[in-house]
Symmetry: C2
Subunit: 326 residues, 2 copies
């Protein structure tokens, strides 16, 4: 387990048993009679991640009539959709490493990665299939649709230097914020929380999601390769322009770095120089400021919700996102 | 429009308006703000296909309280799932041509094909999302899961000469029969047909689906390249063992052909000789016989269902499958 996950888990000790239950359900859900699929899915599951989506589902469901069994179905579904999109992303990005482990497409191949993604996608639908609430299915379908659109638009924008803040925000909304928003919304909705609470929690999830992705994009530049489990600057090497880069991309000294990164002919020393150049600029602080604004908005949504262990945990998670270092 | 489609359409003239309505809804459903996705999806849609899934939905729904609007939602969903799996298959099989048109992965690339598949998949869920019946969502989720499993198992079996009838039947069940079975079942179910009718129609769909795929696999050998819109014998060249091949694979004179096809070093003259050898054997007749048995079973399921235009069309479709030549 990564250090970050341990730190995050300390924020919701009250719900540790629930998270452990969901972890078991996740493992059970990717069992398959095909050895390749089972291995690929378990590999992916073991690679971990922070399980933020399941945690959001649990915490949001606390604001209604909490049932662990119901919340677990929703949580498993959302985490699996997240996992499926990661596998497909690795094919697209041609990534060999994720979170310090080999990716499915590197350990097996692109075909296995594609179908493992489809398989996990389908498992996600099976898990949520028994929740008898039309709105749940509608919201899930729409969320998946937007995520897919995002993945495709990401292709349109790859290696495009002519793009602005709006393009970036649209992209991270689809890449991260929508699924976190839906995690909160579906958690609350499946527990029959009242409409205003559902709305507030959805917005909390959305704003923390925006902040989370901005911080992720900052860390891609400020962290070491070891902390990331992959080369720092991978986003740029893959042709993705993130928020810090938006603030520096028209800098005359930076531009040649970006062009070489996009052209795929960057030496190791070049990459180090590029990272140093961005780190010393004000681009990181500017990006961090935007993340902070989103976190403020997120915390504001929690005003008016009943105090308790769950609200406390949601506040701590927002704080954690603002401060996380890897 | 292909000749085959015209012939098939003549079987259900009574439902031509309904099919046309669904065609419009299909087009509407793949609209997207991303130009690449819109173009890729429309390209796929225009490539046509026989729309057997939508037709089965309409015909099955006639046995309940028919609503075109409801049936169309189910039909669009099932046809889109079929389309999505085709796009992903083309990536796996590395196919450049399908139905005489370039595939998405050939016209654009593998990345576009993968995400266009995901996008269409999600659209399928959106289309069916508003049907308020838990069983519908459960059946759809399970069907998609089995299809995915099938696609993965297909990889396990590719270029495996040591396999039998059971493996083949399992494969075509997942590849084709399950989705046709679900088309009939969901069509009937969404129109509130009684349980016994739903069960009979599902089995009709399943048996015709098995026959349909066997005939498809036969045509891959007996048709000309022009009729197929791709090289005859493609299944073998892609390492897939179909029913006719099962009957001939241990023939000492045939085996070297198969080995060269699987190894990917087959000359054009070699391919022609291989096809001629299979066509002259009794493998085709044996396979055709299995298909006929399935069609008999399919027709038997229709006994006891009320006579009418819909039942007549279902009988004619089964007959058509038994006789189709391309």
């Amino acid at each position: 387990m990564g250090l970050e996950k341990i730190k995050l888990m300390s924020l919701y000790t009250d719900f540790r048993k629930d998270v452990a239950y969901i972890e078991k359900e996740l493992e059970r859900s990717v069992q398959s009679s095909s050895p390749i699929v089972r291995q690929a899915s378990l590999h992916l599951l073991k690679a971990g991640g922070k399980r933020i989506r399941p945690i959001f589902v649990i915490l949001a469901a606390q604001f209604g009539n909490y049932s662990l069994e119901k919340a677990a179905k929703v949580a498993v579904s959302l985490e699996l959709i997240h996992m499926a999109s990661l596998v497909h992303d690795d094919v697209i990005d041609d990534s060999d490493m994720r979170r310090g482990l080999e990716t499915v497409k590197a350990k097996w191949n692109n075909r296995v990665a594609m179908y493992a993604g489809d398989f996990i996608f389908s498992r996600a639908l099976t898990s949520i299939g028994s929740i008898e609430k039309e709105a749940v299915h509608r919201i899930l379908a729409e969320t998946m649709l937007e995520i897919c659109k995002g993945e495709i638009i990401q292709i349109d924008f790859q290696r495009q230097t002519d793009q602005g803040m709006r393009d970036y925000l649209q992209r991270i909304k689809r890449k991260t914020a929508l699924l976190l928003a839906s995690s909160c919304e579906l958690g609350a909705l499946s527990a029959d929380a009242d409409a205003e609470t559902v709305r507030k929690l959805r917005r909390y999830g959305y704003f923390t999601g925006m902040a989370f992705q901005i911080v992720d994009d900052i860390l891609d530049i400020t962290s070491t390769d070891a902390e990331l489990g992959k080369p720092a600057g991978s986003d740029l090497l893959n042709g993705h322009i993130t928020l810090p880069i938006l603030y520096i991309k028209d800098d005359a000294e930076f531009r040649p770095y970006m062009e070489r990164a996009f052209a795929g002919n960057m030496l190791e020393s070049d990459r180090q120089n590029m990272l140093r150049y961005i780190r010393q600029s004000d681009a990181i602080d500017k990006a961090q400021h935007v993340s902070d604004l989103y976190l403020e908005k997120a915390l504001k949504e929690l005003d008016g919700l009943p105090n308790g262990k769950s609200k406390k945990a949601l506040i701590q998670i927002a704080d954690f996102i603002g401060q996380r270092k890897y």
